[in-house]
């Protein structure tokens, strides 16, 4: 099987990797680029643990081929903090104890960041529907929703 050379931008950095055309973007991020923050829960688009932004659009990286990333911008959970400074979402998740095992957390952080970028002041219902494709088996969701709402408020300068 001949591999395809792919050039893309991941979290602002230019990257290159060789992809088997059957490899998903998720496989390439984890196995070729060592970015293991993005998780695989189901591999079939149901759980959202693999959420990344592709050219600014929230997608499941398990439903995108690595070769489709050619020339595109990919943003993963590793791009959220700047150095040691956590993103407001990350801080609020810790403050609200919005995680237990943490497996769903990277995907939810990436999805929530995409929501707040396009809707800085979402209602609780909007947050719940936006995150309907991000499954969490531990928290019961309430703390996640509160953390996202609180991070939104802080980012708007409302508290």
């Amino acid at each position: 099987m001949s591999k395809v050379h792919v050039s893309a931008t991941v979290n602002g950095d230019p990257v290159e990797f060789l992809a088997d055309p059957r490899d998903t973007l998720l496989d390439c991020l984890r196995d070729q680029l060592g970015l293991t923050g993005t998780k695989e829960g189901c591999g079939t688009g149901d759980c959202g643990a693999c959420s990344v932004q592709l050219d600014g659009v929230l997608v499941c990286s398990c439903l995108v081929l690595g070769v489709e990333a050619e020339g595109k911008r990919v943003e993963t959970v590793e791009g959220l903090s700047s150095g040691q400074d956590l993103h407001p979402l990350q801080r609020k998740f810790i403050e609200h104890a919005a995680l237990q095992c943490g497996f769903c957390t990277p995907g939810i952080l990436v999805a929530a960041k995409a929501l707040l970028a396009q809707n800085p002041d979402p209602t609780e219902t909007e947050v719940r529907y936006w995150l309907a494709g991000n499954l969490c088996r531990c928290t019961g969701y309430d703390k996640i929703i509160r953390a996202v709402m609180d991070a939104g408020a802080e980012m708007r300068g409302a508290n």
Partner: protein, 293 residues
């Protein structure tokens, strides 16, 4: 698996026509990648259509309809004010597909060509009278959306043929459409029953209607008998009377030949199709009278 990124539809057809093994086209990939992972479909040639110019565009046709590119995602369709105003039923059907993440990728054409009898965007496209443009080794042709599905997972497209665009006819005055589905939860599930109604009013009388049903037969059904049950009906106090609604439900139930599976029994599906078709007709009627919800 060979991965192709043709820059023209003609080139995509040439690649597909020259391929000897399994071929798949790639739009949003939300069905193709799931089938790939499950080893249900392992294409020898995968042809990504997203590099062809214009596939992400939505344009007005010269007669006032809409032409939707084959790579327009559900999220992009949902943001388009013009189609949302003309065909809210088509938009709400597509927007029911999957999560935010799936909406960022999934397309109308992929939903249609995957061939699921429960595909959520297809009944409303059928009810709207939409058609697709097809290109293949033998040239181009237009096909009504209801003539594409052939049965679960199958279409009537011939080897090497692909769809180049979807067209919704001009909306015209006093018309409305709606799509409703039943699922046991509020998000992220497959339709147990799906119903689309599209109708037009002439004064107080229903002058045109099309009714399409999903998940109650091996393929999505256009049911002319259901439409006939309400065409010509005079509104009573601006609403459909019970006799017309009952006739509509009876025709939809009579056309349904559902299976029993873990999502619902055949009896349950028949019951629900009657309930939903009445509700969808009421919503379509309100929209035809100018309601924007």
């Amino acid at each position: 698996m060979r991965f192709h990124t043709p820059k023209t539809f003609e080139n995509a057809v040439a690649i597909a026509a020259a391929a000897s093994g399994q071929t798949r086209f790639l739009a949003g990939g939300t069905d193709v990648l799931v089938q790939l992972r499950a080893a249900m479909v392992l294409p020898d040639d995968l042809i990504d259509l997203k590099h062809i110019p214009g596939v992400k565009e939505i344009t007005r046709t010269s007669d006032g309809g809409w032409r939707i590119g084959i790579a327009v995602s559900g999220a992009e369709l949902g943001r388009h004010a013009g189609i949302g105003a003309d065909y809210p039923g088509v938009v709400e059907g597509m927007q029911l597909v999957g999560s935010t993440q799936v909406q960022g990728r999934a397309t109308l054409v992929g939903n249609l060509c995957n061939g699921s009898p429960a595909a959520d965007s297809v009944p409303a496209m059928v009810a709207a009278g939409a058609w697709v443009s097809v290109i293949g080794p033998q040239g181009v042709r237009d096909v009504k959306v209801e003539d594409i599905p052939a049965g679960p997972g199958r279409t009537t497209l011939k080897a090497g043929e692909l769809i180049t665009g979807i067209t919704l006819p001009p909306r015209g005055a006093n018309a409305g459409d709606a799509y409703l589905r039943f699922i046991p939860r509020t998000e992220m599930d497959i339709a147990v029953v799906g119903v689309a109604v599209n109708l037009r009013l002439d004064g107080d009388r229903i002058s045109e209607a099309r009714v399409a049903l999903g998940a109650v037969a091996p393929k999505i059904l256009l049911v002319p008998a259901a439409a006939q049950a309400i065409i010509g009906t005079m509104l009573d106090d601006a609403a459909l009377d019970d006799a017309a609604l009952d006739a509509l439900a009876a025709a939809a139930i009579a056309a349904s030949t559902p299976i029993s599976d873990k999502r619902g029994t055949a009896e349950f599906r028949k019951d629900i199709v009657g309930v939903l078709v009445k509700r969808a007709a009421r919503i379509a009627l309100d929209r035809a009278k100018g309601a924007t919800k």
